[in-house]
């Protein structure tokens, strides 16, 4: 009986795949809740169906490589420039020439060789305990390395790509010696061992265990949305950077590229162009309280409320290029 059930299940899943219509296949490291509403809107507007699978970046890239020419995937969506750069390195993406994309997406948020394009901006910024710290005490990421912050800062683990990208961008702009000095300073100032998630960093600040921390702005947004009374405030660092400081708030992207062996290349490019358009941009960014990459598009009211800020303008490919180097630097600095 169970055997029969097994056979039916396996057979059933064959059948359902046999019916192929004109549809796009997306491999995504961005989770379903953050992409499906956008896909649904595209399907409603154009009739093009989108099927997708979600997984972590590493396995997705290996899967694309292994499938090679036979891959059903048209599009790869992933978060963090490091992962996008790695996808281009592994040759699972192909370059796309598009005037629309060049117009809609600022140059530092897309690949110089057009392998990938940023879709939404996530800012990694400073959050502080509003009762214990005045914003005038804050200035830059690098200043948190000074002795006056001893036992006062909380960080997420260095194993998270967000921190790796931040350090990689510092490497690109400030060089190895200065960056290592900053990271070592942070580690010396930690009030608690590094945390597993941004949420834990926020909770640690709110509970008074530390005064400041570095998190992605949308984690802050979610937490204060569900709990507005928390003593947490957001601060935009490096707005008037001195020597030895990076040139603005470190931003990263969630981004997209067309896979090398995409069976529906033209449709895939059309879809990406649509994703960079105003309508899609608003929805895509708002789903996760991120900022649109398209400068024409107004951010979500909650995120707009945090004020505008100057972004670091260095091309994000640097984050990928220097990620492995950044990880080694953090290992040397004993940043776990």
């Amino acid at each position: 009986m169970r055997c029969l059930f097994a056979i039916l299940l396996v057979f059933g899943s064959f059948l359902s795949l046999a019916a192929q219509a004109t549809e796009l296949t997306v491999y995504s490291a961005r989770i379903e809740d953050l992409i499906k509403p956008v896909f649904d809107r595209y399907t409603a507007e154009t009739g093009t169906k989108i099927r997708f699978i979600t997984d972590k970046e590493g396995p997705l890239l290996q899967r694309l490589r292994a499938e090679g020419e036979s891959s059903p995937a048209d599009i790869l969506i992933t978060v963090d420039a490091g992962n996008l750069w790695q996808a281009a390195q592994l040759k699972v993406l192909q370059p796309v020439q598009s005037k629309v994309l060049e117009k809609n997406i600022p140059a530092h948020l897309r690949d110089a060789e057009n392998y990938w394009f940023g879709l939404s901006i996530r800012a990694r910024t400073i959050v502080y305990h509003s009762a214990r710290i005045k914003p005038s005490e804050l200035s830059s990421y690098e200043a948190l390395a000074s002795k006056s912050w001893k036992n006062r800062i909380c960080l997420r683990t260095s194993k998270k790509v967000y921190n790796q990208s931040l350090v990689a961008m510092m490497l690109a702009e400030l060089g190895g010696v200065r960056t290592e000095e900053v990271v070592k300073g942070w580690v010396a100032n930690l009030a608690a061992a590094p945390f597993a998630s941004d949420n834990e960093v926020l909770e640690a600040i709110a509970s008074g265990r530390c005064d400041v921390g570095l998190v992605n702005s949308y984690y802050y947004g979610r937490m204060v949305r569900s709990n507005p009374d928390l003593p947490l405030k957001l601060y935009w660092p490096n707005q008037s950077p001195k020597k030895g400081e990076i040139g603005g708030v470190h931003v990263n992207v969630s981004g997209v590229g067309v896979t090398t062996h995409s069976p529906n290349r033209e449709e895939a490019v059309r879809f990406i162009e649509w994703l960079s358009s105003s309508k899609a941009q608003q929805l895509f960014a708002a789903l996760n309280l991120e900022f649109p990459v398209n400068p024409e598009v107004e951010p979500d009211p909650l995120t707009a409320h945090w004020g505008s800020f100057k972004q670091d303008q260095i091309n994000l490919s640097e984050a990928g290029k220097r990620q492995a180097e950044a990880v080694r630097l953090m290992d040397r600095a004993r940043y776990r």
Partner: protein, 533 residues
């Protein structure tokens, strides 16, 4: 089917074949050593993670052995208030994934956690728990049921009888436990703790929640952060050396601890007064800490998101259950065949094949998933001209089941092998003399005696598959959800409270079959041997 007409080493070798794929990938990777990367790993990463992994491995192995064995001895040999309830309920924490337990633990007991905050306001600050000590505690709580279940199974048909015999020879209950029951269950303790040790080695979710670095986190660091799949496979090679040490230790210990013992069941020794109350209290406490409190916290978190209990979550639950049931069936049969191969032909080749087939349990899941997927994709592209690759790779759950076979053979094998080892070879002889063929021996003589072991094996595999993430993520068909995938989706952006509902469903849906299975097993036991009052 006459004896000798079957090549057991060949059959065992066939079952070990899929496991060779990721192993071969690891070995092949040593042809491409990046010396510069390795000098970094040797200087800054390995000196930290290797001792830490060894420490966690030791503490967890000892912890689960002590806790699992003492609980199993208690409920099998003694009578005390609530014994029957505890006897099956103590298995249930099995259904709580380690990563869920870790999140609840940190969410309540770390500085910013609810319990820690209240205690601090009362002037009782808790010690720092986000370290290897905390990770060990959670791993012990999550993994002791492996030892408990295997030991309990091994004592099920004979424990009390043995104790009675020992007592009749004038030993005190304590002496009887130490001198008779413990040595008797030694193979089961060793088998169960080996499972827990392998699961500890491959664990990522729990140690990641504590931000504790182990060989497994180093594998992922090499792969995801340093962009070197080769280095990841090479570190996995080191991890396999750990497993090899464990296996050698295990076979040494088992060889020393071989005891043949069987007989009808008898009444467990009745505890009285303080002893009885302490036994009940101890069992309640463990149950409360490992099951009650975490489930309560999950329920509290879920309340806010009850509206998310939609059709989709129910479909995911159905998929989880059917996947778990299919895998339990498949692995039950595979492990039975493997255990028989060893019984009929305990030669070196068969044993090597058995060892290989069980190695997959110690490899980090994502690495195993990729290690299987890549060679299969390569093979598939060879046949691509005649056979669509999509059908093989995205074709459904066939490939997933194959991957589960590689991952969970060890889990199914341990209780079945323990059960089979207890059936005396003389019984086979008697059956043969009575004119039974090999198949009849199995179905008429062995299967009824093996039922507890088989039930335990199926329960373990079922629950493990329900909790499994990386293989399911990589190999599921498009648009096909399981509960573990829902948990992954929600937790990967840190939305723990939203993930509480699917986590709770994993626990609930995982618990029911385990409970039914164990009850069924106990009832049959009672029918066979009379009730254990």
């Amino acid at each position: 089917m006459k004896q000798g007409s079957v090549s057991w080493p060949l059959i065992a070798g066939f079952l070990a074949l899929p496991t060779l794929l990721p192993l071969a990938a690891s070995i092949a990777s040593f042809a491409r050593i990046d010396t510069e990367l390795w000098s970094h790993l040797i200087e800054y990463v390995l000196p930290h993670v290797v001792p830490q992994t060894a420490l966690i491995l030791c503490v967890v192995s000892i912890g689960v052995s002590v806790l699992g064995t003492s609980l199993a001895l208690l409920v099998s040999l003694f009578e005390f208030p609530g014994r029957r309830f505890f006897s099956w309920a103590l298995i249930l924490p099995l259904a709580i994934p380690g990563y869920v337990l870790a999140t609840v633990f940190i969410g309540t007991l770390d500085y910013a956690g609810s319990v820690a905050t209240i205690l601090r306001q009362l002037g009782i600050p808790l010690p720092e728990l986000r370290n290897s000590a905390g990770a060990c505690l959670v791993l012990i709580a999550a993994l002791y049921p492996y030892v408990y279940l295997v030991v309990r199974t091994s004592l099920a048909s004979q424990g009390a009888r043995v104790l009675e015999a020992a007592r009749s020879m004038g030993l005190s209950p304590r002496q009887a436990v130490v001198r008779v029951a413990l040595p008797l269950s030694a193979p089961a303790i060793i088998g169960g703790s080996l499972l827990a040790a392998m699961e500890t080695l491959s664990d990522f979710g729990t140690v990641a929640a504590f931000n504790v670095d182990t060989l497994t986190t180093a594998i992922y660091k090499a792969w995801f952060s340093l962009f070197s799949v080769d280095a990841a496979l090479q570190i996995a090679g080191i991890l396999l050396l750990f497993v090899l040490c464990l296996i050698i230790l295990q076979s040494r210990a088992s060889a020393m601890a071989r005891v043949d013992m069987s007989g009808p069941n008898a009444a467990p020794h009745r505890l009285r007064g303080t002893a009885a109350r302490s036994a009940s209290l101890f069992c309640s406490l463990i149950l409360l800490l490992c099951l009650g409190l975490p489930v309560m916290q999950l329920v509290l978190w879920s309340l806010e998101y009850l509206s998310r209990a939609d059709q989709r979550l129910i479909a995911a639950a159905k998929n989880s259950v059917s996947l778990g049931a299919l895998a339990a069936l498949l692995l039950g049969v595979a492990a039975l065949i493997l255990a028989y191969a060893i019984r009929r032909n305990p030669g070196r080749l068969t044993r090597m094949a058995m060892r290989t087939a069980t190695l997959g349990y110690a490899l980090p899941g994502a690495l195993l998933a990729v290690g299987l997927f890549v060679p299969l994709a390569a093979m598939a592209s060879v046949f691509n001209a005649t056979f669509s690759l999509n059908i093989i790779l995205q074709g459904g759950i066939g490939l997933m089941l194959l991957a589960y076979l590689v991952r969970f053979t060890a889990v199914a094998y341990a209780p079945i092998a323990t059960g089979l080892a207890k059936i005396k070879p003389s019984l086979d002889e008697a059956a043969r003399l009575a004119g039974h063929g090999a198949l009849a021996q199995v179905s008429k003589v062995h299967l009824p005696l093996l039922r507890p072991g088989l039930a335990a094996a199926c329960a373990l595999v079922f629950v493990d598959v329900m909790k499994e993430m990386p293989i399911t993520l990589m190999m599921r068909p498009f648009g096909w959800d399981t509960l573990a995938i829902r948990v992954f989706e929600l937790t990967s952006e840190g939305e723990w409270e939203q993930a509480a509902l699917p986590s709770l469903l994993i626990v609930i849906v995982g618990l029911l079959p385990v409970w039914l299975l164990v009850r069924n097993m106990d009832q049959r036991e009672n029918k066979l041997h009379g009730p254990a009052t």
